[in-house]
């Protein structure tokens, strides 16, 4: 209970949870506020013709249209669902793989530990974004492939954290007590060690969801993620790149093509970072007692 109380008394964490709640609402009611034009492909943004130049906000297109007349409002609304899917799937899959490998390394120790941790080191030496770019290129352009590419290069952090946590908890008195009572290795690992080692992993997950959303939208922005016309914020910003300089008379004529998809990305990532920051303050034992 004190955890919840602490989470909901700090203004920044309240702001984070509120923002996140708004995004969940938008994601849930997407079919009602932006009815799909193609019912079987709801993530395809409807187009209003094929004219290249973006059109400013109007009654027909609340936030205007992007290059190629894609409706920005529709893309922003359905992009919320994409962002949740991408952030959760990539982070949780990476986390599962990492926890699995880290636990094995800590459990068996010795030679297996050494090999697995060197593999982690090797994966760490590749710059995350570049490595993901390469894999996304090799697999071919699609949202699923770019997510797969990111999963392949995000698990290492979890493996390291869970391994060191397990090694730490193994030496703590209550684990020794369980062993003295005759509990088997597997039982100690599953019942006593892993549940206690999961707190830092939990914090890492909440801090990483935002970064993963940034990474996927960056891939989309570079043309390696979602297909053209897919409701994805990064992809929509890449459509704005050619219109940065405005028209002859008005330099800021196409501001809406950047700002409308840009604001949701920043707020979405911000909400996860605020939540993660709050969780870390509350769950990290070293932070307890300090404010």
């Amino acid at each position: 209970m004190w955890i919840l109380k602490k989470l909901f008394t700090r203004p920044l964490s309240i702001a984070g949870f509120l923002l996140l709640f708004c995004f969940i609402v938008v994601a849930v009611i997407a079919p009602w506020i932006a009815p799909p034009q193609y019912p079987h492909q709801p993530y395809r943004i409807p187009r209003d013709g094929y004219w290249a130049e973006p059109k400013p906000p109007s009654a027909a297109h609340l936030l205007g249209t992007a290059e190629g007349q894609y409706d920005i409002f529709y893309g922003v609304v359905w992009g919320t669902r994409t962002a949740f899917r991408v952030g959760l799937v990539v982070t949780l899959s990476g986390c599962l793989i990492g926890v699995f490998i880290g636990s094995i390394a800590a459990y068996y120790g010795g030679f297996i530990d050494e090999i697995l941790m060197r593999i982690v080191d090797i994966f760490y030496t590749l710059p995350f974004l570049v490595a993901a770019m390469v894999l996304a290129v090799v697999l071919g352009r699609s949202l699923e492939n770019s997510m797969l590419a990111l999963i392949c290069f995000t698990w290492m952090g979890y493996a390291r954290v869970i391994r060191s946590e397990i090694l730490r908890i193994r030496e703590i008195d209550y684990t020794q007590a369980a062993r003295a009572l005759g509990a088997g290795n597997l039982r100690i690992l599953v019942r006593h060690i892993i549940p206690n080692a999961l707190y830092p992993v939990f914090v890492m997950v909440s801090m990483n969801i935002g970064s993963m959303v940034i990474a996927v939208s960056t891939l989309s922005f570079l043309g390696l993620g979602a297909e053209l016309g897919y409701a994805d914020w990064g992809q929509m910003i890449s459509l704005a790149r050619n219109w940065m300089l405005g028209s002859a008379g008005d330099a800021a004529a196409y501001w809406f093509t950047v700002v409308c998809p840009g604001v949701p990305i920043v707020l979405f990532v911000l909400s996860w970072n605020l939540v993660g920051d709050a969780l870390r303050d509350v769950l990290d034992p070293r932070m307890r007692g300090s404010r």
Binding site: L222, V269, L270
Partner: protein, 345 residues
């Protein structure tokens, strides 16, 4: 200590070999035809008909078992042949050496404010915990951390180039690049600002700086949060130590306590993320250079990736891998020599 350094140095080739295996396995997912360019020295050879290409695949043994191909590829790489980069229209090694100074220039200018302002503000935030400066830096850091580099960069471009024409994209204006690439201008380092000073040409210096402002701010803004938050928490922990209380009770002024006693020890954990910061900056460079049309290594990697230019991507990844391995090694050794409590076995 020396034994540790030697052991790490011996391990270095092992890790680098591991990186090359990883990169190579990624590449093996491609068809033999896409991998042809890795082995070809003459670009025109790639423009032949399908039969000739199939013959080349056979002649180069691209259908052989993976490990045979790996040893063959490593042999080429060790002899300095990284293949032909179709997107840069030059050999990969040449492209990397030519573009490196541009990225180095950008990264160095961005790293200085990140490190110094980050550490200074982190210290202030810890000393004045829960006061205005702590809250302001916390919010700016979290917001900065939440900004994707490409969104921030495009907004900067919209504001300061689209609307005000103050800071143009690219590396140099046309007139300045005519001077830089002329006979009279000697290129010492390839970094335009340094070369301009060495050549005594202040107009070129001004132009180069003007082009650097936006990319440097973009690259720095999104990565300074890490250092700031780390410095803050490390400083908070140090300020709670007994020897700080001792220092205060001796009657030392708060400034001496903070700057002489606490700061030194608080800096130690911060140095460990230097490797992470280099990785961050490298990732940032790819996006920043692409947005600002700044012709450096990052932009090269992005174009290579989009155009499926495998030799280019591989060369860049290998370069990055080696850079990161070496950075981490240097950081670990420095850390051990700073902190007598760290024993290396």
């Amino acid at each position: 200590m020396i034994a540790y350094i030697v052991r790490r140095l011996l391990l270095l080739p092992v890790v680098i070999a591991g990186v090359s295996v990883l990169i190579f396995s990624l590449m093996m997912l491609m068809s033999p035809f896409s991998r042809l360019a890795l082995y070809v020295r003459d670009p025109d050879a790639l423009k032949q008909g399908p039969e000739e290409l199939a013959e080349m695949v056979e002649a180069l043994g691209l259908n052989d078992p993976a490990w045979v191909q790996y040893t063959r590829w490593m042999n080429e790489v060790l002899h300095g042949n990284f293949g032909w980069s179709e997107s840069a229209r030059q050999p990969v090694l040449q492209a990397i050496t030519r573009l490196l100074p541009a990225s180095a220039e950008l990264t160095l200018y961005a790293a200085f404010p990140v490190v110094f302002i980050g550490i200074w503000l982190g210290k202030k935030a810890a000393v004045y915990q829960d006061m205005a400066i702590d809250h302001v830096t916390r919010v700016t850091a979290i917001v900065g951390w939440s900004f994707p580099t490409f969104v921030f960069g495009i907004l900067m471009l919209l504001l300061f180039y689209g609307m005000h024409k103050w800071f143009p994209p690219g590396r140099l204006s046309l007139w300045a690049s005519r001077i830089v690439y002329s006979e009279t201008f000697t290129s010492y380092t390839g970094m335009h600002t340094v070369d301009a000073v060495l050549n005594g040409d202040l107009r070129v210096l001004g132009d180069a700086l003007r082009h650097l402002v936006l990319p440097v701010i973009t690259l720095a803004y999104v990565s300074w949060a890490l250092i700031l938050r780390l410095m803050r928490s490390s400083m908070l922990e140090t300020l709670r130590q007994d020897y700080i209380i001792t220092a205060r009770s001796k009657g030392l002024s708060e400034r001496v306590v903070v700057n002489r006693h606490a700061q030194r020890n608080a800096l130690l954990p911060v140095t460990t993320v230097a490797g992470l910061m280099v990785a961050n900056l490298l990732n940032g460079v790819v996006v920043t250079e692409t947005i600002f049309n700044f012709r450096g290594l990052g932009a090269f990697a992005a174009t290579a990736a989009v155009q499926l230019d495998m030799p280019g991507i591989l060369g860049f990844s290998l370069f990055n891998g080696v850079l990161l391995v070496v950075t981490n090694l240097v950081v670990d050794i420095l850390y051990a020599s700073f902190d007598p409590r760290v024993r290396l076995e």
